[in-house]
Symmetry: C2
Subunit: 151 residues, 2 copies
């Protein structure tokens, strides 16, 4: 497990190096921490885990990682913007409002549907932003369980 995580951090750094960015020690630290994150996080979360890094460095790294596609931004229900690892290109998130976990939404025909619908409004679609909120399997079954036991 630990090995895998480090492998992920390595991978993030490689992505940066491929694009001509240096592998500096702050960046290694950021990559390590991000690779360990299991849910979406804010710049502040990162800062808490990397108190020795300058504020600007954290923000610069985040920006870079978003630009290179390593991270993506997720919009919370209240409008807060968080970050999380983006394993693939364009995708959407199923965000659990209870535990804060998120899964990627795959194999969904939404792009197709959006194209059709916007075309019918005379609209030439170029992009979209979609976030989906609800309860993950674990949280919703935990709910049902507690209903049964408290009843």
């Amino acid at each position: 497990m630990r090995k895998r995580v480090n492998a992920l951090a390595e991978q993030l750094l490689e992505t940066l190096e491929e694009r001509g960015y240096r592998s500096t020690s702050p960046r290694r630290a950021v990559a390590q921490v991000i690779a360990n994150q299991d849910k979406h996080f804010t710049a502040e979360d990162l800062r808490g885990q990397l108190p020795l890094l300058g504020r600007a460095t954290i923000f610069r790294s985040l920006k870079l990682l978003v630009e290179t596609g390593v991270l993506c931004r997720v919009l919370l229900e209240d409008g807060d913007l968080h970050y999380q690892l983006s394993h693939r290109g364009h995708h959407h998130h199923l965000l659990c409002v209870e535990c804060g976990s998120s899964q990627d939404l795959l194999g969904c025909d939404i792009e197709e549907l959006l194209h059709q619908t916007s075309a019918s409004h005379g609209f030439e679609l170029s992009g979209h932003w979609l976030e989906v909120y609800g309860r993950c399997r674990a949280c919703s079954s935990a709910d049902k369980l507690s209903e049964l036991t408290t009843a």
Copy 2:
């Protein structure tokens, strides 16, 4: 046209009054300005048009209007949050990246599709946020026209 706009402002105020909020002169001013807006705007835009109102008052009014469902927040492609009139309940926006206009997306089966897709991920859907970006009919035909004439 002018008459309609004032009627709209009236209507916004009535919505507030129905919920027990007073009709004060700052609120009347805000309602008037919002009713005249033809695209999404920021608090700063409003402030520019209402220089005599306190900053906090503008923000308080916006918040109130969002809570009462008169306004909705729209997410721009770059992550900026703007406001705009919300004529109906839940809906989505087709935002023109060229002229900044927006249309509401109606008669779309997205909710249904989302429900199915998230259920297949074991996810109990409770809400979502969708914004669609592209070119409106006017802008995309203007583009085509200029291509023709410059060719």
